[in-house]
């Protein structure tokens, strides 16, 4: 039995320690905001925060997450009011939306560590999050907007 702290709430999980965190989140706990994309850490759709770092939950085993703080898209803010979420809505970033939870979770780590990202910083930080609708330019713009909002 592993104890996980997910979005500030403790869960006792009875699963194989090798179970990917993604399946614990989606299938056991029911937090389905985090998406399954490739299953091999190549696309970024499943990014969540583990003790504040962006990790790909499809390859992160339950055993790695045990005792650590996990934050998913559902826990990024209590009222969907994170500067990134507001910027995403304002600029209509999403098209199909499938990759967007992962995009926002990656961008949140960038903005936490770099308050004034340049376009190059954004491209470097977001290069591992793939969007097949090609919303990259709006993603970049929204991150810049959120960075400004964050400073207020």
């Amino acid at each position: 039995m592993a104890t996980l702290n997910i979005n500030k709430k403790n869960y006792n999980i009875d699963a194989d320690p090798d179970t990917p965190l993604l399946w614990v989140l989606r299938d056991i706990i029911g937090l389905v905001g985090t998406k399954y994309g490739c299953g091999v850490a190549q696309c970024g759709a499943c990014v969540v925060h583990l003790n504040g770092e962006a990790v790909r939950s499809c390859v992160t085993k339950l055993s790695r997450a045990e005792g650590k703080k996990v934050v998913t898209i559902e826990g990024l803010s209590e009222t969907n009011s994170h500067p990134l979420q507001k910027a995403w809505l304002e600029l209509d970033v999403s098209q199909c939306g499938y990759c967007q939870a992962g995009q926002i979770m990656s961008a949140a780590v960038l903005l936490k560590e770099n308050k004034n990202p340049t376009n190059e910083d954004i491209d470097d930080a977001m290069a591992g999050n793939i969007c097949r609708c090609g919303t990259y330019l709006r993603i970049r713009e929204a991150i810049q907007l959120a960075a400004k909002d964050q400073k207020k």
Binding site: V40, A41, Q42, V47, E53, A54, V55, R56, V59, T60, K61, R64, M105, S106, A107, V109, L110, E113, N114, D121, D124, A125, M126, A127, G128, N129
Partner: protein
């Protein structure tokens, strides 16, 4: 009296000549040492290695084959993006080194590289300490000739501040060992770890002599 003075002058001229020649020869000898292979001097000072340049260079040929294999070189790239695969192409997603060698922001090595290998063909290999060399000492292998790499490896200013003892111990470093447990779909280095370690230690203990580039 005059003759005495003259002989004194003659003597001092001779003494001066001898002194100048002695200094000159000492300087030439010292220069000779400093022009020898730098690594050889370093080892001789620290470990009192028995210098055997033939054995040492031969051992380094084996070491070089391993270090230039994708399993080692891919994380010692010439640029700031790691390499990937048996053809050492740029790592997909272009993650960057970062100051500490552990990546940047949402693109840190351990975002994908887990403490252990991920099951499946060509999935991310794992190690708890997965990283590139840091930005202030990149320890590049890619593109280095045997001579350049050997000299880089023995110089603490370019080898991660390691003395010879630490260099020997580095053969058993976790991330070095990970090269022999690369995960599915990746070839192993050309020697076994035991063979590599033997050649590595032999190279160092026989003087860590840098081969001459042809």
């Amino acid at each position: 009296m005059k003759q005495h003075l003259k002989s004194n002058k003659l003597f001092s001229n001779k003494a001066r000549t001898v002194t100048v020649l002695t200094i000159l020869f000492s300087f030439i000898i010292l220069m000779g040492f400093s022009f020898e292979n730098h690594s050889l001097v370093t080892v001789a000072k620290t470990e009192k290695a028995v210098i055997d340049s033939v054995t040492s260079v031969k051992a380094f040929q084996q070491v070089y084959r391993v270090l230039m294999s994708p399993r080692c070189m891919n994380c010692h790239p010439a640029g700031d993006v790691p390499l990937q695969g048996d053809d050492s192409h740029l790592h997909a997603m272009l993650p960057k080194r970062g100051l500490d060698g552990k990546g940047l922001n949402a693109m840190k090595c351990n975002s994908c590289h887990q403490p252990t290998n991920t099951p499946g063909l060509n999935t991310p290999p794992g190690d708890p300490n997965w990283h590139l060399p840091p930005a202030n000492m990149k320890m590049v292998f890619q593109g280095k000739t045997p001579s350049q790499l050997a000299k880089q490896l023995v110089n603490p200013k370019t080898n991660g501040n390691k003395n010879m003892k630490q260099l020997i111990a580095h053969a058993d470093d976790g991330l070095v060992l990970a090269g022999w447990n690369p995960g599915e779909g990746r070839t192993l280095p050309p020697l076994s770890h035991a063979e590599f370690k033997k050649a590595w230690i032999e190279w160092i203990k026989t003087g860590a002599v840098a081969p001459k580039d042809k």
